[in-house]
């Protein structure tokens, strides 16, 4: 290579280096550390009352009893989907029975009703009332 060409090559190399090298930079270092803690929160499933039975039977009436559910706020009583009444105790008086009637008792806790229900069928036969629990 001639001396002139060698000089041109050196200058070109120097220009390339200066164009790509931005010089030293400040380095910012930040450390990190972390901990993750977990918990589990579960909502209750409200249980239905159990042990429905009729301790007292009369003419056209029956008393329906059941076993208390711990923590229950109240019990709602239905005939079919028709609301009949509520009680905070564990018995309900079914009166004015003229035909077969199925009563459903629902546990209620803080506004949440039990999804499954306990039912008792009160049957009136010739002025006599009989009672049987159904699932």
């Amino acid at each position: 290579m001639s001396g002139r060409r060698r000089a041109v090559a050196v200058l070109a190399a120097a220009a390339l280096v200066s164009a790509t090298w931005s010089g030293p930079r400040d380095a910012d270092a930040a450390w990190t550390d972390g901990v993750t803690t977990s918990a589990t929160l579960s909502a209750r499933t409200v249980p239905a009352p159990t042990g429905l039975w009729c301790p007292a039977l009369g003419l056209f009436s029956a008393s329906i009893n059941w076993t208390a559910v711990p923590g229950a706020t109240r019990y709602d009583v239905y005939v079919g989907s028709t609301y009949q009444g509520s009680t905070t105790g564990t018995s309900y008086g079914a009166g004015f029975l003229l035909s077969n009637t199925t009563y459903t008792v629902v546990t209620v806790m803080n506004g949440w009703p039990s999804a499954t229900t306990s039912r008792v069928t009160v049957t009136v036969v010739l002025l006599l009332v009989s009672c049987s629990a159904t699932a």
Binding site: V35, T36, T37, S38, A39, L41, A43, R44, N110
Partner: protein
């Protein structure tokens, strides 16, 4: 012809030799030096965050693990964030959930920094870090400084509000509270 008895030709040879010898006679140069040696100790710092004394990376928050939630139920649980390292840090909190997204959205959560731990029944007054809001993921705190050796006691309050949907019965959610520290 002679110069003081030495033939001129020899003198012409000897004279330049003498001058050349005088011209190359080495001289003595003295250089003084001095120096100071300084010593120092270089040590690295240590960034170390703990939750309730645990190093992590993951732990279980048993104080906030609750079953049988009903509407109006309230849970309080404390969590101690500590700088167990040797450098100041800045910590932040972010919450993610797995499980029932409906339950996660229905629950309300708030975070306070308190003087000491909170009990299940009380939510002590303190600095509100995250105001009570619906949705567990709303529990977020940013940019809290903590000096080496210092602690921050957090009290978290979780509530299932009155009127929460009955369809939430039997559902569960697992919130993960990630505390991150930077130097």
């Amino acid at each position: 012809m002679t110069v003081r008895g030495v033939p001129l030709r020899l003198t012409a040879v000897l004279l330049p030799l003498g001058l050349g010898a005088a011209a190359t006679w080495p001289s003595a140069v003295a250089v003084w030096t001095g120096g100071v040696v300084a010593t120092s100790t270089v040590a690295t710092g240590r960034l170390d965050l703990t939750l309730d004394g645990a190093q992590g990376p993951t732990t279980t928050w048993s104080g906030l693990t609750v079953s049988g939630l009903l509407p109006t139920d309230v849970v309080h649980a404390s969590l101690t964030v500590a700088n167990a390292g040797t450098v100041p840090l800045t910590w932040s909190l972010a919450t993610t959930v797995t499980g029932s997204t409906a339950l996660a959205a229905a629950l309300t959560v708030g975070v306070r920094e308190v003087a000491s731990s909170c009990s299940a029944a009380t939510w002590p007054g303190g600095t509100v870090l995250a105001a009570e809001s619906a949705g567990l993921t709303s529990a977020a705190v940013a940019g809290r400084p903590l000096a080496p050796g210092a602690t921050a006691v957090l009290c978290v309050r979780v509530t299932l509000p009155s009127g929460a949907a009955s369809s939430l019965q039997g559902t569960s959610v697992t919130p993960s509270f990630a505390v991150t520290a930077t130097s």
